[in-house]
Symmetry: C2
Subunit: 601 residues, 2 copies
């Protein structure tokens, strides 16, 4: 029996003897069977199958009723859907047969919503079957023919439902990289592989082409189920024998399962939507600090930055370093190490300031048990605290996934009072970035709440089932310290509001569900950290990207300019973001006046 | 003093002495003055003006703060808005200075929503001021420059609010007919007329060009206020003397006030949103019948149709006519008259069937006092009633504004059992029609409810402040009687579900807020009634159009194909419509499964 690295199903043209078919395929290592709701006029029926098997082991295939061109076929379609509900199958598989699918959507969508235990897999091939007269050139000239457009039309018509996903069938003629990329933003629940697209290797075993392998590997990140269809190697038995194909798939999945440190560290977080922390308004719990502290890379970078800062101040008699928002002390510890590494431990005065009483208690514990008089611990809010000394090096880690979104600017504006002349802030700069993102899964998740609030809140999400539809653009920038223009009155209060319009070109026809957000930050000199995909600090997993949703997705065509406005707004009590798409169509300004989401000061 | 046919205001550059300015202009026949919130550095201020005058007589003009290109001007803008709120003025006038207005929207929109007593007039000129180097050709080649696009961008960014409207300033170079038409779909609250665009007639008085007159006459239908700006005829006094201009405007308005019968009959109903009747589920009230019966034209047409039907049956020994859903009897009365008119009164058997007990009582009263044994009155639902005779002429008036939307098909399917061989139904056919409509006002009204239900319900609205963005297309058709294909089993139950995709071409760049719905109906032979704008039965006012809204407006560009799908769906207990836009972008299917609106069976 094949090692089960994938969950796989076998497509069969069986409507009776379901129990026997399932038993045999289970032994072969399958997790489910895929059966037609009706085959040659006979409905799917086997009274010996138990409910639990129907609901966990059977995916039911709806026949190809072309209700858009033949509305009179509605009744037959509805009969099948009702039958699937009656059987209580795990999922139904609904074939999309062409670009015209609005009547299909109108008939099936109420079923998707009412059958709460049944998943719906919209069955789409990566390539449309070509009428024989058409040439390849014609197809490329008519992108509306691409099957992605069929799917896009269908899902745009449907009221969002998390139970609806895609059964994506690989075609022999693989779609290009761009199209593959686009499918990665779609909710692929099942990858259908017809045996006909397999090649035979030197040893006579079925294998996929390199191009197909690559696509399957990319799809594996979405953790889909697989389905084998088509004739087997030996079709003398009652069912096609596709054991070798299944073994090959398992082999592929095992090979692909080698994970990076980042992937290992973030496992289980894929597309898990979190509301950003409110470290200023709330006192973080010890657990939360614990999670942060697990990322060695971030602290390595901070230590490296401090080493360079200390090195540059080696000639001074005394170096005062201050860690503001010290939490449970991970950066304090790294400051001590940095000082030792560059040989300035003896001239270092190290101050740790923290506002959270729980964290202060832990700092004091470390002071007693580990640091001794090398560290002075103070309880206080850096925005109002009266410093006991001025810092040559002010160190903080107040960054959010979007850089400034945990109010680092507001905190450091207060803390820069502590900076001595010629002193520095680590970090000295951070920037946020945005890119238009298509992510049906995350958008649909938010839409299930049926309110405005959820689609007007920026979230922290390890974006997995997504695709970017344009280049990543720089959004806001903050530098520290910021004492204002020459001659400005001190203490200077910088303006932390921002307003910027970003533009990019749509890389292909797509549906924009919002924006992905990232940040990078210069800590000191050339030491920087980044979660920008193109410059991501290797293996650093402290920050996941942001997802800034839209109320209603915006359809864009390849080559069109996508233009969006972003605001960072500040009042006496809160900071919030507003955003709007300006082009190719204009949306309402989201989160106007911070009505749905804000960060408390 | 001029006769006040228009409500008009005078724009003045006055920030002090407001009381004196208002007193003088009131005497001249003005209803309000329009004053800058700040003029040459001095804020609008006059402590002698009473609150009631500020709130009813003063419109405050916000200065041109170009916050989109100079975000640092935000503070000055906010200060003015706060000052306007403090004064409690009737309205503020906010100038749109260019196509980039997202920051202006972000700053001002919260004010629009929070200042609940103050209207906001977005000030837009019909022509953008041209940089001197630009030629006319250039402007026409760049439609994005049109000021309508500025406004469209602005309002699309704003959260809908009924207090926000337009102050539309007429330019000397009038916009073309198409653009004028488009403005008629926008919420023009005030028409600004600079004195500079007036011509001088032979007698030396200021007059508008014919083109301007025509546009003003069209705008008058929206009942806007007017505002005169610019230098007066004689500027020796403290204020520009524009009394002759005001007199001319009043004259124009008086001339335009000659109303058609239709306009007189429907006065006060403009853009008043009504939920369609449920005549089957509810028993109509006597008042409702009374309103219906006030339309002589409809009954004239019915009488004409019956005359022709009786005429065609003159040779028969006996004619049985049946009025089903007879209400309080207006058609029964016309049936009697028709029979007399063609001389068949003696051979007519006239049966009136009605399900509403209240209406039956009134029918019985007329029978006793007026009709005698010429009419037989029965109480019953035509879908289930057992007929006492078969009708040669079955007459009904069960039509809604969208033809079939008050369930005429379902009723007549039941009633056709009563039709004798060779018998007819009056009406024998009706069709519904749709066209994409832009109607900011009606859409915004619905959006204030902040729910899905209100934007998924077809309404009856005398669409006034609207413009069609494409041709009117035929939607559904029903014919009666319908005994099915040859040999069909009787009684035959027709399929009253419908599904149709309609297509038209966008006549210009515009924002589709939904669809306008109409119907026409063949009563008998060539006698027909229609509310289709191109074939509207003169002076008939029984039916207003439908407005079928969209959840989110769809922006269309001139020449693009607008494609939309409509469904009429039927279950055991109800009938409902679903609709979706398919192109240029795709919306969700509205009112899926009748979740928001339906007509009960």
């Amino acid at each position: 029996m094949a090692r089960r690295a994938v969950s796989a199903g076998a497509r069969l043209d069986v409507v009776s003897g379901v129990q026997a078919a399932w038993t045999q395929h289970k032994e072969q290592g399958y997790d489910f069977v895929v059966l037609p709701l009706e085959h040659e006029g006979t409905p799917l029926l086997d009274t010996t199958v138990e409910s639990a098997d129907w609901s966990q082991r059977v995916v039911a295939v709806v026949s190809e009723h072309d209700v858009d061109n033949h509305p009179e076929h509605e009744k037959a379609l509805v009969t099948e859907l009702q039958w699937a509900t009656h059987l209580g199958v795990a999922a139904i598989m609904l074939p999309l047969q062409g670009p015209d699918c609005c009547n299909l959507a109108s008939i099936t969508n109420p079923f998707v919503h009412s059958a709460e235990q049944i998943a719906t897999w919209i069955h789409v091939k990566t390539r449309a079957p070509q009428p024989p007269s058409d040439t390849d050139e014609q197809q490329e000239a008519e992108p509306a023919r691409s099957t992605w457009h069929w799917w896009n039309q269908f899902r745009s018509l449907c009221t969002p439902c998390t139970r609806m996903g895609l059964a994506l069938e690989l075609s022999a003629n693989i779609c290009d990289e761009e199209e593959q990329e686009r499918w990665l933003g779609e909710p692929v629940k099942c990858v259908v592989i017809p045996t006909g697209i397999f090649l035979t290797n030197a040893k006579g075993y079925p294998v996929l082409s390199r191009a197909h392998q690559r696509f399957v590997r990319r799809l594996l990140k979405l953790r889909p189920q697989f389905m084998l269809s088509g004739p087997g190697s030996d079709d003398e038995g009652p069912y096609p024998d596709r054991r070798q194909h299944l073994m090959y798939l398992n082999h592929l999945a095992v090979m692909a399962a080698q994970r990076s440190v980042y992937e290992a560290s973030t496992e289980g977080y894929d597309d898990y939507i979190e509301i950003p922390l409110q470290p200023l308004m709330d006192h973080l719990e010890s657990q939360t600090y614990e999670v942060f502290e697990k990322d060695p890379v971030k602290y390595d970078m901070y230590q490296k930055a401090m080493e360079k800062a200390f090195e540059d101040r080696k000639d001074k008699d005394k170096i005062v370093a201050m860690v503001v928002g010290a939490g449970r002390g991970p950066i304090v510890r790294r400051a001590l190490r940095a000082a030792e590494a560059v040989g300035v431990a003896d001239k270092l005065t190290l101050i740790a300031l923290e506002k959270n009483p729980g964290a202060v208690r832990i700092l004091q514990h470390y002071q007693r048990t580990e640091w001794g008089n090398r560290v002075q611990v103070f309880a206080g809010d850096m925005r109002t605290w009266q410093p006991v000394a001025k810092a040559d090096v002010l160190v903080s880690e107040l960054l959010g996934s979007w850089g400034d979104n945990e109010l680092s600017p507001e905190c450091l504006d207060g803390a820069q009072r502590f900076i001595a002349e010629g002193g520095v802030s680590i970090p000295n700069r951070y920037r946020s970035f945005v890119a238009p993102v298509s992510t049906h899964k995350n958008y649909t998740e938010l839409r299930t709440h049926k309110d405005r609030k959820h689609v007007e809140t920026p979230y922290v999400v390890l974006l997995s089932n997504h695709t970017l539809l344009g280049d990543i653009k720089e959004l806001f920038e903050f530098t520290h310290p910021n004492f204002g223009p020459p001659g400005a009155q001190q203490p200077y209060t910088p303006d932390n509001t921002r307003f910027k319009i970003v533009e990019c070109t749509a890389t292909q026809d797509g549906l924009v569900h919002g924006f992905a957000g990232y940040f990078d930050s210069d800590l000191y000199a050339d030491v920087m950290i980044s979660i920008h995909p193109e410059t991501h600090t290797p293996d650093m997993f402290s920050w996941f990207p942001m997802y800034i949703p839209l109320q209603t997705p915006v359809y864009v065509r390849k080559g069109e300019t996508i233009k969006a406005a972003f605001w960072r707004k500040v009042s006496a009590t809160k900071v919030w973001y507003e955003w709007a798409v300006l082009s190719p169509t204009t949306t309402e300004i989201h989160n106007l006046a911070g009505r749905s989401s804000f960060i408390g000061l």
